[in-house]
């Protein structure tokens, strides 16, 4: 008699807990995947093409995986200018250093040397890379 009673399944409280955990994880996962969706569909910048003829890329948007190298300048009207190093080195192994302009719209970003960022950049006039979106991976 007592053996029959032990085989009746999981207690209710555990099931509720599991349901809550699944719901929370799903929400979190859904939230996180929503911001990464635009970077996932954006093409990665080819630095060799950029170096050779940035004008030909003007107006295009690319994503870059970079590490902040140094701050080059800070303008109250245009934003901040940084040099960043692509995480992915060039074919010959030389580091690829690019200038990026972080506009005033992204002024809330805290950017420091050595930080790792995924950035969505647009090639604007004069071949400058203007950051449209940035987040830490």
């Amino acid at each position: 008699m007592s053996r029959q009673k032990k085989s009746q399944g999981l207690p209710l409280w555990l099931i509720v807990l599991l349901v809550l955990l699944a719901a929370g994880g799903g929400f979190y996962s859904l939230h996180q995947n929503g911001g990464d969706a635009s970077l996932r569909t954006t093409e990665e910048l080819d630095p060799s093409i950029y170096y050779e003829n940035a004008n030909s890329l003007r107006g295009n948007t690319y994503k870059i995986d970079v590490e902040i190298d140094s701050a080059l300048g800070n303008s109250p009207t245009k934003g901040r200018l940084f040099s960043v190093i692509l995480k992915k080195a060039s074919k010959n192994g030389a580091p690829v250093v690019l200038p990026v302009l972080v506009p005033l719209e992204l002024g809330n970003l805290t950017i420091q040397k050595g930080q790792h960022y995924l950035m969505k950049v647009k090639v604007v006039e004069n071949g400058l890379l203007k950051v449209e979106e940035a987040r830490k991976p």
Partner: protein, 719 residues
């Protein structure tokens, strides 16, 4: 203070260097100047020799030029001006006023009156006396030059001779009467002579005959002597008569010819008519004059005085006619050659008595100038002149006809002159006037031309005079100017030959300059001097001669190192060849220190800048070389690149920069790409390249400066 020390030190270095060079090559300047000749072992030419050579060259060149130009006679009128005697006389005439004064008018009236009184048909004894009395009156005027008085005296003397002849003739006639009587008396005495006819004895016959002869002689001697004396007296008188006539005729004929040569044709006609009146025996020949001329001796050893100058034009006339006889005929010719005149006459008169004399006259105008003048040679010339005249003119009729012809010709020439002048044909008009002046300077029609009528010719004549003078001086430029003026005044002036000669002389001068240049390139200064002197003598203002002299001065300065150094400095500085100046800086420092020209300050400033610049370049090079030795090729290149951007024209810097470029090619490429984009104002790309170059060589100043510069361009308000 520092600068002063630098200059002084440099000067000392230069002086020491220069002194040592001079010590090694004694007399170096002389060797340089004498050039190749010295090297070839030719003896050095002294200054005096060079001077002599130059003088000789100048003399020869001058002669050549003068001969070339003076020999040309493109125009008739111009050729006259090659005779200075004529030129002076003619110019004086052109400047003289017309003889329209009352005195001149009265003189002409008296001359006309004399000629009228003596004209054929009017020459009665009374008219002859009146004309004779008018001669002294006509001679009162200056333009007559006392010729009428001379005629008056000669006619008077001839008339006296005629009187003497008449007296002697009358005496002779009386003596002949006396002689006839004496001869008759002598015959009568001879017929009435009584002598003892029988001798006393046979042996007394011889003595008796001797006594008879003595007696006969004693009785006949007085009458014989008287007859002989009368005969001798008559013969002597006849000789005196002949001599007096001969002398009188000769005197007048000589005067006629003299006046003819003087071109006093009116006087010739006057005295000719007096002559005919005085010697009315029908003998019009100049035989006495010819005989006298033939009898005069000629001293061959003395040579002959030469009269030089030829007034030109050369006249010639000829006449001839036959007399309808079977063999009668006459020929005459006259002509002017290049250097003289000639005349010849031929007739058949003496062989056939059926022709007439021909006449042939050739004149050669006015001769002036004397050569080989001495008493003997002058006598020879006089004799030759007399003989020539006696052969040219055979009779007074010829002279008279010729004088009349000349007067007519001159009068016509004056009319032609006025016409040509009116038509502005200056050359022809001037030639015509010169011709009438030469032929009949003293004729009224010539003397009556007004100053206004002669003014154009005077101006043209003066130009001609200047032309000849310019030609004689050998001044090509002056000659060209005069030719131009003549052409302007007289468009018909034939300047082709003159211009051709001028061009020839100019070309010759230029060729001599070219030869001088060739000689200069060989260092043959003697030939240079000779040729350039000749060139200058031919064409003193030849610009090539002037330029050559300037070049020679420069060549001469080569012998002075400091002058050459200054010239080199100016040249290198002008060419921006600062490296060359820097390499020989000691020389230029010393030369500029010794520079005593007004450019010294400017040169000093330039040299200072050059040295500062080169110092910076050299420092950069040394620094880069040191960096490169440490293996930092990019750093070495960058150091040079920064200096190179300031001084891109330095060869050494450029070469070293090129060498280092190959040592750090990636870095150099990045920097150059960055600069390229920066110049194209693609600041984003340029910044990317600078960042890249900086990543390769983090110590790069170029990259750092570029980045800073571009950040300011992208964000002018960046902090």
């Amino acid at each position: 203070m520092m600068k002063r020390t630098l200059w002084d030190g440099s000067l000392a270095v230069f002086l020491i260097t220069f002194g040592s060079v001079c010590a090694q090559i004694p007399n170096a300047q002389t060797i340089h100047e004498t050039g190749q000749q010295y090297k070839e072992g030719n003896p050095l030419t002294g200054a005096s020799d060079n001077l002599a050579i130059g003088s000789q060259a100048m003399f020869e060149a001058n002669l050549k030029a003068k001969k070339n130009i003076v020999d040309m006679k493109p125009n008739t009128f111009l050729s006259l001006w090659n005779n200075p005697g004529f030129a002076i006389q003619f110019e004086k005439y052109l400047s003289a006023p017309a003889e329209t004064s009352e005195d001149a008018k009265l003189y002409r009236q008296r001359m006309d009156k004399i000629m009228e009184l003596l004209a054929p048909g009017n020459a009665t004894k009374q008219n002859q006396d009146e004309a004779f009395n008018l001669l002294p009156l006509a001679s009162e005027f200056e333009s007559d030059a006392n010729n009428c008085t001379t005629i008056h005296d000669a006619v008077y003397a001839a008339a006296n001779a005629r009187l003497q002849i008449q007296k002697l003739t009358e005496v002779d006639r009386a003596l002949e009467t006396q002689l006839s009587a004496s001869q008759y008396n002598q015959l009568h005495e001879a017929q009435s002579l009584t002598l003892p006819s029988i001798a006393p004895g046979k042996n007394d016959v011889a003595d008796n005959n001797a006594n008879e002869n003595e007696l006969r002689t004693a009785k006949m001697d007085p009458s014989k002597s008287r007859v002989a004396v009368l005969k001798q007296t008559i013969q002597r008188n006849q000789a005196q008569i002949a001599s007096a006539e001969l002398q009188a005729k000769f005197a007048l004929q000589s005067l006629i010819l003299q006046l003819f040569v003087q071109r006093r044709y009116q006087h010739v006609i006057i005295i000719d008519r007096f002559y005919r009146a005085l010697f009315d025996d029908g003998d019009q020949s100049l035989e006495q004059f010819a005989q006298m001329a033939d009898k005069m001796g000629y001293n061959k050893a003395a040579g002959q005085v030469k009269l030089i100058a030829d007034a030109n034009p050369k006249g010639a006339t000829a006449a001839g006619s036959g007399n309808n006889g079977p063999h009668g005929g006459v020929g005459a010719s006259a002509g002017t050659g290049k250097d003289g005149a000639g005349a010849s006459v031929g007739n058949d008169y003496y062989n056939n008595n059926n022709g007439m004399d021909a006449s042939a006259i050739s004149g050669s105008g006015l001769h002036m100038g004397v050569e080989n003048l001495s008493v003997e040679s002058a006598e020879n010339a006089f004799v030759t002149g007399m003989k020539g005249a006696s052969r040219t003119f055979k009779s007074l009729s010829q002279l008279d006809a010729f004088a009349n012809e000349v007067i007519r010709d001159v009068n016509e020439g004056v009319k032609v002159y006025r016409f040509l002048l009116e038509k502005s044909e200056i050359e022809s008009a001037a030639s015509q006037l010169a011709s009438v002046f030469t032929k009949g300077e003293y004729l009224p029609s010539v003397r009556l031309l007004s100053q206004d009528e002669k003014r154009k010719t005077l101006a043209y004549a003066q130009l001609c005079n200047r032309l000849v003078n310019a030609a004689n001086s050998g001044n090509i430029d002056a000659l060209s100017e005069v030719v131009s003026q003549m052409k302007q005044m007289n468009p018909s002036f034939d300047d082709a030959e003159i211009l051709a000669k001028l061009q020839g002389v100019k070309t010759a001068s230029s060729l001599l300059v070219a030869q001088a240049k060739v000689a200069a390139s060989k260092g043959d200064l003697q030939v240079v001097q000779t040729q350039i002197t000749r060139a200058a003598a031919l064409w003193p203002n030849n610009p090539e001669v002037t330029n050559f002299s300037s070049e020679m001065s420069k060549l001469g300065n080569v012998a002075r190192p400091e002058v050459q150094a200054l010239a080199d400095f100016d040249q290198f500085e002008g060419q921006h060849n600062y490296r060359q100046i820097f390499d020989d800086k000691e020389k230029y420092i010393a030369a500029i220190a010794m520079d005593d020209s007004t450019r010294k300050t400017m040169r000093q400033e330039k040299l200072r800048k050059v040295l500062a610049r080169m110092q910076e370049i050299e420092t950069s090079i040394m620094r880069s070389q040191e960096i490169a030795r440490r293996g930092d090729d990019a750093g070495a290149w960058e150091g040079l690149e920064m200096t190179f951007s300031q001084y891109p024209d330095d060869q050494k810097l450029s070469q070293l920069r090129a060498d280092l470029t190959t040592q750090a090619p990636d870095f150099v490429h990045d920097v150059r790409q960055a600069k390229s984009y920066e110049e194209r104002k693609e600041y984003g790309s340029a910044l990317a390249w600078y960042l890249r170059s900086q990543s390769r060589y983090p110590m790069s100043d170029l990259s750092k400066q570029g980045i800073q510069r571009l950040v300011r361009m992208i964000m002018p308000d960046a902090s």
